[in-house]
Each structure stands twice: as C-alpha cells, then as structure tokens.
Symmetry: C2
Amino acid sequence: MDVQRLELLRELADRGSITAVALATHRTPSAVSQQLKVLEREAGLPLTQRHGRGLVLTDAGRALARSATDVAVSLAKATALWDEFRNNATGEVSLVTFPTAGQMLLPGVIKNLGPGLVLNCADEDPELSDFPALTAEYDIVLAHSMSGQLSWAGRGLTVVPLMTEPLDVGLPVGHPLADRAWVRPSDLIGETWIGVSDGYPFERILHAIEQEAGAHLSMAQRFADLALIESFVIAGLGIALVPRYTSSGGQPGRLVLKPLRGIESQRQIVALMRPDRAERLAVRTVLDALRAQALQVQHSHTVK
Amino acid sequence: MDVQRLELLRELADRGSITAVALATHRTPSAVSQQLKVLEREAGLPLTQRHGRGLVLTDAGRALARSATDVAVSLAKATALWDEFRNNATGEVSLVTFPTAGQMLLPGVIKNLGPGLVLNCADEDPELSDFPALTAEYDIVLAHSMSGQLSWAGRGLTVVPLMTEPLDVGLPVGHPLADRAWVRPSDLIGETWIGVSDGYPFERILHAIEQEAGAHLSMAQRFADLALIESFVIAGLGIALVPRYTSSGGQPGRLVLKPLRGIESQRQIVALMRPDRAERLAVRTVLDALRAQALQVQHSHTVK
DNA sequence: CACGTCCATGTAGCTAGTCTAAATAATTCA
DNA sequence: TGAATTATTTAGACTAGCTACATGGACGTG
C-alpha cells in the first residue's frame, strides 16, 4: 500500500487524465499508468475504466482517492509540524486571485512576508474560470461567493473565509442621491444600471432590489473591468454596484459610494485550497498574512 | 518526505533501539540506521542522540514520531476502507491476553469469526508484562484496569472497553456467609484471605475493605493461578476475591460466590492497540466479536 | 472514410534508491 | 581486560520505478 501511488490516484481524481497527472508530477504518462496498474492489482478491484479515449474513476477509485486525501493531509501536517520545529516557514506558495481582491490584498501581504517565503501570484478572470479546478494548479485560490451561500462546499476543499466586502451603490458626483448617508431599494427606481461582471453577485442583488422596490430596473451595459464601469458612472451614464474597498470612491473627482440598506449587499472573499496544501506551514503563513491584510483594509475603511 | 522512513522512526519510538526495529521490520540494523540518517538529513535537525550504546529520540524526534502515527492511522483507514469495499475482512490478527480473559472470551470469538480471518492468540502473565509495550508485538492486547482508572491513557494508544467484570468473594460451601445473598466489608472481618495475582486489582479492593470495615485483614497465600486459588478456598483454607464470570463458582461441589456490597469491586477488561492497527478492518472485526462475546458472557450470568 | 490527433498502455533498458554483508567504533558488564 | 551489545560505515548487489519508444483504440475533420 504505497502512498506515492495513492497520491497519483488522487491527482487523477482531480485532473481527470493520466496525461495531466503525468504533466503535473513531472513524469511520463507511461510511468503514471504503470503505477496505477500496480495499485489496482494491489487493490484487487478496478479503480478506473475507459471512457472514450480517456478514462474515469470507478466508485471504488473515487472512494480510495478520497481517503488518499486524508493520507496527504496527515503527511502535510507532519511536514508542517517539523517546519514549525525549525521555525522554517519558507518555500514557494502559488496563488491565483480575481483582479479586485488581488489589488486590495496582495501588495500588503507580499510586503509583510518574511524572507525565504516567495509568493507567486497570478490572476484569472472570475467569469471564465472554475475556481475549484484551479486548486489543482495553485496552492491558494482567492474566490468570492455571495454572503452565506458557500458554493464551494462539498468538493472536499478547504475553505477559509478572509473577509466580507460590502457592495455599495456607485453614483456620479452631483447625483440627486449623492448627499444621502445611505440609499434604499425604493430610492433606486428609474435609475439606469451599469452591470458588473458575472464574478460579482450582481444579478442576485439586482433582483433583490427589484423585489424589494417592486419595480423593474434597466441595465444599460455590462463590463468586467471595474475601472471601466467607474468611468461610465462618473460620466453620468448610469449607476453601478461596486465593491467598497476596491473602488476609487472617496477620491476627489471620482464617484460617490452609498451603502445599500434594506437588503444584504456584500460578497464573501474566501481562500480555496486542497486540504493537504492548506496544512503546509508556508501556506498557513500566507493565509495568516491574507487575513491580517483583510482586517487592516476593513479597519482603514471603517475609521475613515 | 517518505512514509516508510517515518514509520521507521515511529517504530524506534515504540521499541527503543535500532536493532529491535530492524528485527520487527525484517531488515538489518544497517538499513534502519541508514534510512533514519536520511530522514534526519531531510528534517534538518537531529532526531536521535546517542545514549550509552543505544540511542534515544530527541524532542523533535518524538514529535515527528507522533505525527508519523497520524500518517499511519490515515493509511490504515484507507486500507480498511477498500477492504470494506471488497467485503474482505481477512488476514491475520495477533492477540495477547491474560489467562482469565482468554478463557472467558476467546473460544467463543474464534468460533464466530468468518473464514479467512485467522486469530493468533497468546497469553502473557499479567504480573510480569507491561501491557502497553506488548502493543508493539501484537495487534490486540487484552488488559485490565481497576474501574474508572484508565491506567493506559496518555501513551497514544487506542483503548476499547470490552466489559466490566465484578470481583466477588469466593467462599467454601458451608461457610457461615454462604447462604447470604451478598456480603459487606464488615462481614469479612477476621477471615483469612488467599491473595490473587497482582494482575487483579486485588490490593486496592482489599485496602478498601479494610478501610470500610475498620479492621486489618490477614492474607495467607498469594497465587497467580485462579484454579489454585479456588482449590485453596474449597479446602477451607481461606476466602478470596475471584472474577465472577471466570471462576467455576456455581458448579456443584465448587465454591460459592457472593457479591460484595458497600465498595466497588470490579475490573475493567479493555483492548489496547496501536491506533493504526485499530483501524484495520480485520482487527475491527475481531474487536466487534470480542464485544459481542463479552456481552453474551455478561448476559448469560445475569439471566442465571 | 481515411487521416491526423489524442490518450492510454505495453516493452526494453537504465538509474537511483534501498537492501545485505562485513568491518569498525563505542559502550557496558563481568 | 575481554566478551557482548549496539550503532554506524563502506562497498556491492538487487530491484522498483523511470524514460524512450512503439502500439492500439477513439474521436474529429476535410
């Protein structure tokens, strides 16, 4: 009963093809195939079965892969333990983020990391990418979900909440509502909206506003890039839901943010990880820094 | 970070010497020494240090060995899971017992085990042996402790309670107390006692009786073998504390058992195991059979 | 429908890691 | 001091697992 082989099975469960596993583990597909065959012979029952030109796991294979995760976790814990023993939170950690979270958190995090710990960051368009799938490639995946609703649960991934960010209504300077302390759904009847990317829980909140206000809202445009959206709002072409900490609201000459009362308008920013990777000391250190930075961002906004 | 090497470290923690580990793992001491050296180099800090002609683990070594146990447990769980998948509770399970528990439980257990599951039993004198140490050699160690007091805790072993057996006062037929339903400590003043082996919590209960009755008790003999003790009691040479389910009490012409009231007089029979071995499907199956048998023994005695 | 592509697997040979065997060093016990 | 016990070192053998290459289905496409 070899751990290496179990690990390969787990990778197969995550990546779906021998070739992908081989690529990820720096081996030839032949080597992977051979090892899985040995595992299957040891197990005494088929773990994979052909499906088209690829293959899929059998029920037994999936079950075994699941417990392989537990093995990987306890192994990672052992490694982390002795890294702690040596006070040695070094190594490389890879991270993907969607743009706004990266802009808000990463610079501060990287500044606060000790020497020997390198954080390799990348960004992915939240519209296009399947966040859970990215955990195969990256140690940490920054994702967001609507408040409460944990869309990431149930796949065996570790989810660490980092912060909740309010989504405010962005208005142009001089807008009739601009001198209010906050706005309510009913205030927003008749406005033209600039839609944001699918990555934000925009649709949900828009529908909630419609339901609350009892009227239909019209959407003029739909953009992914926040700066683009802001420029439209500033130009008076509509209003938009923008994340409070990431927008340029508050700066002179830019747009004005108003909290939305009466409905819950926020997004959860979380870190998604494979359970075993979450145990690595270096990863946990980065996670701590992320949480600290998130707290600081929130704090600096409430004080202001 | 190799599991095999971690396993070796764990064995070293359990067995205390390279030679013992080598013997247990069917290797030469040289191989073990080399592997541990590699592990130590990977770890980056000393895991062992010389002590006389042998060696002892450092703090780091012990810590690492502990987490190695977790790894072994999750691995054993994986193996068990797929054994369940195949409905395959087969293999060999080794067990040591002290004589009375073996006599009471093992015949029934072995009868009820399915084919393909072999249970290799041995017995050890409870006086001479260190029960926890036996878990290195045997999958299951049947041990006993005084009620409540879990003397086996804290060593990282899995403890599964099997039954609690009352310790009754054994009297010769025709003894003045023989027609009573039960006896109390004060009834026993002036009697001569036949001491049982240290394996039973004899001393404790004897002291409790003395304290309760407020008098000193005299002990005539001290034997380990229950049959021998019984023969002395039957011959009228004294009375003794005997385990209710194991003695021959109740059979015609033998001795008479009387429950002891006023103090707690019983022993706990438990199974001791290394955590990883406790996860094996075959071991769990044997354990289930042990519990069932224990229940049946208790039941057959309460009905009668 | 034949061709190129993609994916898994089989075969042969090489390499690296792990074992044994025997010698060495250090310590304890008699 | 000599015998016994224990860990370690070294050299050499063995073997598990890898790569390179070839094979054989399955899919899509001109």
